[in-house]
Amino acid sequence: MAQLETIATMDNLERMIDFVLSGSKGVGFSRKEENEIHLACEEILVNIINHAYPELSEPGEVLIRCTRLARKPGIRIEFIDSGVPFNPLNNPDPDTALPVEERPIGGLGLFIVRNVMSSVEYRRTGNQNRLAIEKIAQGEH
């Protein structure tokens, strides 16, 4: 298991994404799958950076843990913050069939996360949000 604890700021976003992507190397992911992991991480981390700590004058922390799955080639990535409770699984899916004039400009990020990952789990433990995402590697086709 590898973990990174850092301050949840835009300045640290690239470093956090790189940490997850390096943890995804050697697992057997195709480029497409690596791209999907990248997307999911960006969407989740930007959400934490922008919304987890609205009441603090200083940005809060986020802990990221990457673990290889034991049962299949794949990875589990856990994002832990101590911000306001937020369950991304409660966010309704956007209506992707709406005409573009009526499409709301937000709500796509978490929809992408749910679509590209094999599983998404949320738990609120004490004062922590724990969001765990897993992806099974299918590899190249």
């Binding site: 835009m10 976003l13 690239e14 480029r31 497409k32 791209n35 990248h38 997307l39 960006e42 969407e43 930007v46 956007p94 992707t96 069939a97 709406l98 005409p99 573009v100 004039e101 499409r103 400009i105 937000g106 796509l108 990020g109 929809f111 992408i112 679509n115 590209v116």
Partner: protein, 106 residues
């Protein structure tokens, strides 16, 4: 900067070239550039994206913005998109209003 982009308006066609990664870091800058086109007479908005490697929801919002605020009556073209980018456009339903082509002729 994770993306490079250029915006040009000629003959009522806005031509936008994007290279690299259109993500949370780079999308706001492109959005600012597109805002400058608001109020112009535009028939077509053409994104040249064969060197665009990655697009996140922040980038998708810029595309939706382009249709809603810049080219309300315009056709929006997406030229030369890589598979990774096309996959995300399809997943989020943006291909419903984008004209995706391999190449573009005036």
């Amino acid at each position: 900067m994770t993306a490079e982009y250029g915006v040009e308006l000629r003959n009522r066609t806005a031509r936008i070239t994007i290279k690299g990664k259109l993500d949370t870091t780079s999308a706001p800058g492109l959005s600012e550039e597109l805002k400058k086109l608001q109020g112009q007479e535009i028939d077509r908005v053409v994104f040249f994206v064969n060197e665009l490697e990655y697009i996140s929801s922040a980038g998708l919002r810029v595309i939706i913005f382009a249709k809603q605020k810049v080219g309300v009556k315009a056709d929006i073209y997406f030229i030369g998109a890589q598979q990774a980018v096309l996959d995300i456009l399809k997943m989020t339903g943006l291909t419903n209003f984008l004209i995706c082509q391999d190449s573009y002729e005036e």
